[in-house]
Symmetry: C2
Subunit: 150 residues, 2 copies
């Protein structure tokens, strides 16, 4: 089974900006977020798009299925997902040999910055950068599906 194991943190300073490797404009919308699954459409720079199904989280671990889809489909599906659509700039940031994703939200969530790290095992040790703050991995308020509704 495909699994996503992810930790998520608030960002406490701009220190990450010195270690940015690349960035892309992400638009993502939710067609569903219920007790069984979350169905997300995401486009990167309006050039590449992915449909993702995620099961319910069990701690840090979540079943995840990703399928590349045509950008044109994603545009239409993002319309269908309205108003549950988020816009953010995603930066890939190197720290201690690992790649962090720093999401700078736009629109109604402007000001919110979240950092995520994907792990291979839930108990994997991670050296935290000094620019991350409180861990919010299991705080539903910071789930993107929740943010898309608020």
């Amino acid at each position: 089974m495909a699994q996503e194991i992810e930790r998520k943190f608030l960002v406490s300073s701009d220190g990450w900006r010195a270690s940015v490797r690349s960035s892309s404009q992400v638009r993502q919308g939710y067609l569903s977020s219920n007790a069984k699954a979350t169905v997300r459409v995401r486009s990167y720079d309006d050039q590449r798009a992915v449909l993702t199904l995620k099961g319910r989280a069990s701690g840090l671990v979540r079943a995840e299925y990703e399928y590349a889809i045509p950008v044109e489909d994603a545009r239409e599906l993002l319309e269908m997902a309205q108003p549950h659509v988020l816009e953010k700039r995603r930066y890939l940031v190197e720290h201690d040999g690992m790649t962090w994703e720093v999401d700078v939200f736009e629109g109604r969530h402007q000001g919110l910055v979240l950092a995520e790290i994907e792990l291979e095992r839930a108990d994997q040790a991670v050296k935290l950068p000094d620019w991350v703050g409180e861990e919010v991995s299991e705080d539903e308020r910071y789930f993107n599906a929740t943010l898309s509704r608020s």
Copy 2:
């Protein structure tokens, strides 16, 4: 935009069995069915699988997006969709130069038989076979998403 234009009928006799071209065992489950979209996973003979997103219907017409997915993913996603899963045998039936789909439901809907025909235009003329009965195209009770919940 991909569109599905479909008419659906109850089946009034076994007359269609003489014109069967092929059949397959269909298992389909719903990960979501809300005001925006229906998200369906379907496997054919446990050999081939498709993920389908459908928008809300407007009369006979519905936006539809279909993606082939690995059979192994479909097996797991069908588990995730429980209990909203339907099992049926689908027969392809020739009539007057068109291919009808006749679905013979199993499990808790055993006894239900529905015939569907896909059209290119909503106003397309269709010569109805004498084995179809009442039209139920817009009757929500016969939507597969509804059947999966009942």
